[in-house]
Structures are given as C-alpha cells and as structure tokens.
C-alpha cells in the first residue's frame, strides 16, 4: 500500500518537474547567469550592484550607483583620469576668459548612438536644462550656470552667475553627461527615458527594473569601439550574501560592496579575489558646539579625539578597510592637505589631562547617535568608540538609528552631543568638504562658527586662481583639525569582488566603468 503511495508521489513530482522544464526553451535567454557558451563568457561583462539605477534622467538623481551605470552611455565634457586629474573628454580644450566665462572647444566627429553629430547646441540644451529647472535634483549643483552661449558649432561659452572656481569639476560629474537635443526635441522626454541615447561607448539595450540593465558596445564611439566587451550587464542583487555567492559561482564577474565577513570567502575561492581602493568617503563624528553641551569646549573635543584610536577602528572593525585621517579632503581632491592624511591623534593621558583642564576630571555622560547598516561596519565602529571613550571616563549612551530616522534626526536638528556620519565628494573639490564648517550651515545644528574659517571660505569661493585657492582650502582644514568641530575617524575603502579573468582596480569615485576593465 505504502509503495503505491510513494510511487504516486514520485510520479506527481516528476510530472511537475517536466511541466516546469518546458519553460526552459522559451525563457532560456532571459536568465542573468553567464554560464553559457565560452564566447559569452569572454565578451560579456556582468556586474552585480546592490540597488537598481533610478532611471535615465541624468539630471534628476544624485545617486552614485546610477551614475556608474549612466556613464557607459553619456560622456562628460571633462573626466578624471586614473590619478584623479581632470582631462578633457568631449571637450577638446578650455580657456578661462574672465571670472564668469569659460570658453570650451568641443571635439569634432563625436556621434550619438542614432548617428546624429554632437555639437554646441547639445551642450547648451543639457546644461541649461539642469541649471534652470529647480525641481531637478541636480539643480543645486548647476544653478551657478547662468547661460551657455553657442559661439559656433563646436565652441561654447559657459557663463556663470558669479565667479565659479569649481566649474570644470562640475562638468566632470553626474548631472553633466551630454544629452541629444535634436533626438529629445523630436521624440519627447518620455521616449528618451524609455529609449535613451548618448555619445558613450555603450548603447542601451534593455532595462528590467530591479533585475538587470543591458548595454551593447557602440561601434562608432569617437575613441574607437571598446574591444574588450561586446555587452555589459548590470545585475541588481540587493542581498550581500547572494551577491557574493553569484561571484563565487561565476554568475557575475564583479560584485560590489563585499562585506568584511565575506572577504576571506572571496579571496579563498579559486578564481575570485577582493580588490580594495580608498573611497572618497570619510567617516567622522559631528559634535555639538552649542553652549551647554560639554562638547562646546574645544578641550573636550580634543580629548575625544585623543581618546579614540582610529588605527584600531580600521584594523579591528574594518579589518584594514580604512585609512585614519584628520580631514575629509583626501588625495585626488583639489586642496588635499597631505599632513592630515593617514595619521591620527591617540594619547589617553593627554585626553585625561585635557578633560581635567576643561573641568571634567571624572568625565561626563554624552549621547552618540549612530546609523546602523549605512556605512561599512558602522555599528561595530560606534561600539568600539563607546569602549574607547569609557577609558577616559566619558560614559557614552549609544543610540542606533535606522537610516530614515537618522536622516530625519539630522534634518530636524535633533542631534544630541555627537553623531556619526560619512560623507563623499563627487566634485573631488575640497571646497565642498570644507564648506561644512560654514557657520550658516551649522545654525541650530552643531552651532559651529569660526571667524577665520568664515573669512577663508568667503575668499576661496570666488578665487579663480587654483594655486591660492588650494592654499586657502588647506588652511581651513588645518584650523579645523585643531578646533575640531568634527572628529574625523577614517576614509572608507571600497571593497569589490572580481573574477580573476578580469584586470580591474576600483576607483575612489566608486564608478564601475567597463572600458577600464580588461580581460587578462
């Protein structure tokens, strides 16, 4: 009797499996896995990212991973090279005519994916749209542009509202990819968003939301078609362990944001390894300098800085995935100050002395607010800090906040003594990092204000001379390193898992640019 039951069961199971397997022929192509033909393996690059891009409106997002996808299709006028130095891309050359005018000569013979030629009209169309439409998320970074004058087919004058020393930095980042004016005007935005074209090395093929984005190489690319890859596929895999498993099984060639717990797994696996590069994001504690808070006393802030051993944070919590710093302007950024990089203050005795001098010989109680799951090992780092501060008598009450609550705490100025934050800088211009010391920005928040910094900020904002401007930005960092409105901890590293068939080193801007990935 039981045998009958068992055979019935098995029969039913086989029936279901056969029914399912008939799908294979019809849907076989749709899978994301690259375990098909050898040709596919050689010429199709698959990159796993944690979240989907937001859409093809290059002006209406400020998302690094979206930019990472976009830049395969849309070229900038300028681009940073591997040394983070700005080089002309679609621009041929540029000249600063006066404080508010930059003349840019464009490359000739550049084609959009539909065959149209790229001209000065496209530059005007692109930049004026983002500069003049306040509802676009990138508007704040481009409203400094007053207008773009078309001098001739291949020359434009970019006129800014006021002197704008960072203009070239702005033209080399997200929001400044060049759009096809004629194509968009003829077909409308909706059509463009569904069928985007640009001048970039790859053409759009398909976007299945939250699943994959597929590009194929553009044979008429002005720098010559990228030989390495016939197609580039971004697969969206939000779960860290799934992304790593895909890398280990060869389902993807590159996996971003590999968490420290999986580093050994990636390195220990045959055929994959972990690649690291210092990112442009630094992690720091933001302190209240408002009267009434112990942290309003600079000696207390210095004591906190001396009590935290940044090197231990990076070595233990991050397993080496960070570089201790005393500033947020890292190498490759305009105005970088080398003496404040790869170094930290740590001296427990000095910290205790400073606390005693400030009138807190037995320490005090404070609250540290920390996001959880936003930055690499953020919760572990906060917990270590609590332990370190307890050694000098500072009892820290740690408050973990889920990211949306954390953001709300910040925007509503509900911050307490200190909170942990990480900031990147897509401009690669130190001016944007030091602008955080601007007193106006800190009203009712940290209430930090320093007259010398204010003066230097005002000067550097309109200074078109790069040499003196860099010095001003460096000077601001040195003052802040003493006055400590923020306590810098470390610069995070980017952790990317890479298949050994590919030669790729991540870049500090967190971009995943297929033309930079070579077959070994």
């Amino acid at each position: 009797m039981n045998k009958k039951l068992l055979s019935l069961l098995l029969f039913a199971f086989v029936l279901i499996l056969t029914a399912c397997s008939s799908d294979e022929s019809s849907n076989g192509e749709a899978g994301g896995s690259t375990t098909s033909t050898p040709e596919n393996q050689n010429r199709d690059l698959t990159i796993a990212i944690g979240s989907d891009m937001l859409g093809f409106d290059i002006h209406d997002h400020n998302n690094t991973s979206t930019e990472s996808v976009h830049q395969h299709m849309f070229d900038y006028l300028f681009k940073r090279d591997s040394n983070n130095e700005l080089q002309p891309m679609l621009a041929e050359s540029y000249e600063i005519i006066n404080d508010t005018t930059v003349k840019i000569a464009l490359k000739q013979g550049v084609k959009f994916h539909n065959g149209d030629e790229f001209t000065a009209e496209d530059v005007k169309f692109t930049l004026e749209r983002v500069a003049q439409t306040s509802s676009l998320k990138e508007n704040a970074n481009y409203k400094q542009i007053k207008e773009v004058q078309v001098v001739d087919t291949y020359t434009v004058n970019i006129i800014t509202v006021a002197p704008e020393p960072s203009i070239i930095h702005r033209l080399s980042r997200l929001g400044s990819g060049m759009l096809p004016k004629k194509y968009i005007e003829e077909n409308g935005w909706d059509h463009f968003l569904a069928n985007p074209i640009g001048t970039g090395p790859y053409k759009f093929v398909e976007w299945v939301r939250d699943n994959k984005i597929v590009f194929e190489k553009f044979d008429d690319y002005y720098q010559g078609a990228v030989d390495e890859w016939d197609s580039v596929t971004f697969r969206i895999i939000p779960e860290d362990s799934t992304r790593v498993s895909e890398l280990l099984t060869g389902g993807v060639d590159i996996a971003t944001n590999v968490p420290p717990a999986d580093w050994d797994r990636v390195n220990g696996n045959k055929g994959t390894s972990l690649k690291q590069e210092v990112s442009n994001r630094s992690i720091f504690l933001m302190l209240r300098t408002t009267d009434g808070y112990p942290t309003s006393d600079v000696r207390v802030r210095q004591a906190i800085d001396y009590a935290i051993d940044d090197r231990t944070l990076t070595d233990i919590a991050l397993k080496g995935g960070g570089i201790p710093v005393l500033t947020t302007v890292g190498p490759g950024n305009f105005g970088h100050e080398p003496s404040l990089y790869d170094t930290h203050n740590y001296d427990l005795e000095k910290a205790k002395q400073l606390l005693a001098n400030a009138g807190y010989p037995d320490g005090f109680e404070m609250t540290l607010q920390s996001p959880k799951g936003r930055y690499l090992m953020d919760a572990e780092v906060s917990e270590l800090i609590v332990g370190m501060l307890s050694q000098v008598g500072i009892k820290v009450k740690l408050e973990f906040l889920e990211w949306s609550n954390f953001v709300e705490m910040r925007t509503a100025n509900k911050n307490k003594d200190a909170y942990m934050l990480g900031l990147g800088n897509s401009m690669f211009d130190g001016a944007y990092a030091v602008d955080w010391y601007n007193a106006k920005r800190n009203v009712d928040h940290t209430d930090y204000s320093n007259s010398k910094i204010e003066e230097l900020l005002a000067q550097s904002k309109v200074n078109m001379d790069p040499t003196t401007r860099a010095k001003q930005i460096q000077e601001i960092q040195k003052i802040a390193a003493e006055d400590l409105p923020f306590i810098y901890l470390y610069q995070e590293k980017i952790n990317v898992g890479v298949n050994d068939r590919i030669d790729f080193t991540p870049t500090s801007d967190e971009m995943l640019y297929a033309p930079n990935m070579k077959l070994k």
Binding site: M1, C20, A30, G31, K212, T242, L423
Partner: protein, 304 residues
C-alpha cells in the same frame, strides 16, 4: 450565489477606503521622504525646494484629498524615486510575484498532502512523530536563513541552480522552495489533523469493516472530505504568499512586488507603498472570496 458575490463585492469598497486611509496616514506619520532622496550634503534650501515641488508642504487633509481624487481616477501618484506613475510599476511586478507564489504553493501542496496523509494513517508511530516534528522545525525556520542555506548548498557547493535572478525554471526552484516550505509545513499539520478526524468517523470505520481496500478507504472516502478545509486554507495562503514574498524576493533578487515594496519602504517612496498595499489588499480580498466560494462548491450543505 450571485447575491453572495454581489454582497461581497460591495463590502470591498469600504474595506479599501479604510485601508487607503490607514496606509496614507502611516506613511505620512512615518516621516519625510525628501531628506532621504537628497544626498547627505544637501542644504536646507535644497530640501525645502524639493518638498515644495512635491507638494509635501500641504496640510495632511489636502494631501490626502488630492491622493484620493487621484486614486478614484486610477492614479496612485508618482514614485519619488523613479519619477514615474506608481500603479503601472506595481502592476508590472505582479506577474513575477504571482509566478513565485504559484510555484511555492505547488511545492507546499506537494509536501503537505502526501506527508499529511502518511502521518495521519500512521498516527502515533515514529513516522507520525517524524513528520509532525519536521513540520514544526520547517515552520519555525526563518525565510532569510533557509534561502541563504539553499543558495550555499544547491548553488555555491553543488552548482545545481543559479544563485539568483529571474527568467528560467531553474531560477524559480530555490525561492519557491524557500517560500513553500513553511507553508507546506503548516498545511501538512492541517491535512494530518483533518485526516485523523475523518479516519475516526463512523463511515470510514464502516467502510473498513466491510473489508474495502485500505488505499481505497483513505483516498476515496477520507481524503476527499479532508480536502475542504485544506482548499480554503490554500486559497488564503496564496494571499499571504503574495505579501510574504518580501524577504525571499530580496534574497534571490527576484524582481517582484515584494522587492519593490521593501525598497519603497526603505526610501519612503509613498506612492509605491500605497499602490503596493492597495494591490495586495485587493488580492487578499479576492482570494478570500474565492475561498468562500470554493467552500460552498465543495460542501453543498453550506448556505449563505
């Protein structure tokens, strides 16, 4: 029956109204999406501008009124994140979720019916203990843990199935097993207890005493009758599956409604959250209705 269906349909309207109000209020109270949409270094001015542009400075009642006016015309507003209408986005995801739900249900039934019957017919034996014990464990296993374990075993170690993705039947197996196991375990216990009850009924005993083949007794007499509550529960579980696929879809990067909803909640993408909950609510209501009707069809003694 028609009167019953019509009555049920009319009941849907107030239910949906209440749901929409609750979801709107919860999302409203949950906080401000604008700060999440802008980068960390956004200024207060940028935040205010965007909030104004999105109409978020209006009072609650104005925002709710505008929202309901749209809903009545089938417009659930635009997703903040994707800048596109929310409802089509949600509907676009529905087939993938339904596909996963259906496959999970098949797996759940494949587990539940044979094991439930087997266990019931061997009541109080080692087999019974094993099946009931395993089903308790299976029910208790969290989906994310089971999913990751299945990936490690069947994809990474054995290489039998792709780790994640969507499109072929191979992609479907692991997420369906993950989602179907817990439900299958629960249904196993239900099938078992129903069967035990029925096997003790007089008519079964009579059939047995008449010397009728045991297999025939179990399948012809007992099994069919024990199916009624099982089918009802199955219909109800389908709706649970649709809503409950959240974690499984994220683990296997299955591009369904669950993954969309999780991301929308994380980024406070109100329109998506509202449209998703609305669609899930309709599914639940419809499945309840189907369950009620099936019950009626299977057991003619039930009157409405």
């Amino acid at each position: 029956m028609l009167k019953f269906i019509a009555k049920k349909m009319l009941e849907i309207i107030p239910v949906l109204l209440i749901i929409s109000f609750i979801v709107f209020t919860l999302v409203f109270v949950a906080g401000d999406p604008v700060a999440l949409m802008l980068p960390e270094d956004a200024s207060q001015e940028d935040i205010n501008n965007l909030r104004e542009a999105l109409g978020l400075n209006d009072p609650f009642i104005v925002q709710y009124g505008n929202y309901m006016l749209g809903v009545l015309q089938g417009d659930f507003g635009d997703s903040f994140r994707y800048n596109t209408a929310a409802l089509p986005l949600v509907l676009e995801r529905l087939p993938a979720t339904l596909e996963l739900a259906a496959a999970s249900m098949v797996i759940a039934i494949l587990i539940a019916i044979p094991f439930g019957i087997w266990s019931a017919t061997k009541r109080n034996s080692v087999i019974d203990l094993f099946v009931t014990g395993t089903s308790v464990v299976a029910k208790a296993m969290p989906n994310f843990w089971l999913g990751i374990m299945l990936i490690l075993i069947f994809s990474v170690t054995l290489g039998m199935f792709p780790v994640s993705g969507y499109g072929t039947w191979q992609h479907l197996i692991l997420p369906a097993v993950t989602l179907g196991t817990g439900i299958g375990a629960e249904m196993t216990r239900l099938v078992r207890s129903n069967m035990v009850d029925i096997l003790n009924q007089d008519y079964v005993r009579t059939a047995k005493s008449k010397g009728i083949n045991r297999f025939f007794v179990v399948y012809k007499h007992a099994f069919r009758n024990s199916l009624i509550p099982v089918i009802t529960i199955t219909a109800l579980q389908v709706s649970t599956l649709v809503g409950g696929a959240l974690i499984t879809e994220t683990i296997f990067s299955w591009p369904g409604l669950g993954q969309l909803l999780i991301q929308a909640v994380n980024t406070r993408d109100m329109a998506i959250v509202q449209a998703s909950v609305f669609v899930i609510a309709i599914l639940v209501i419809v499945m309840n209705l189907v369950a009620d009707m099936l019950y009626r069809v299977l057991d003619p003694r039930i009157k409405y």
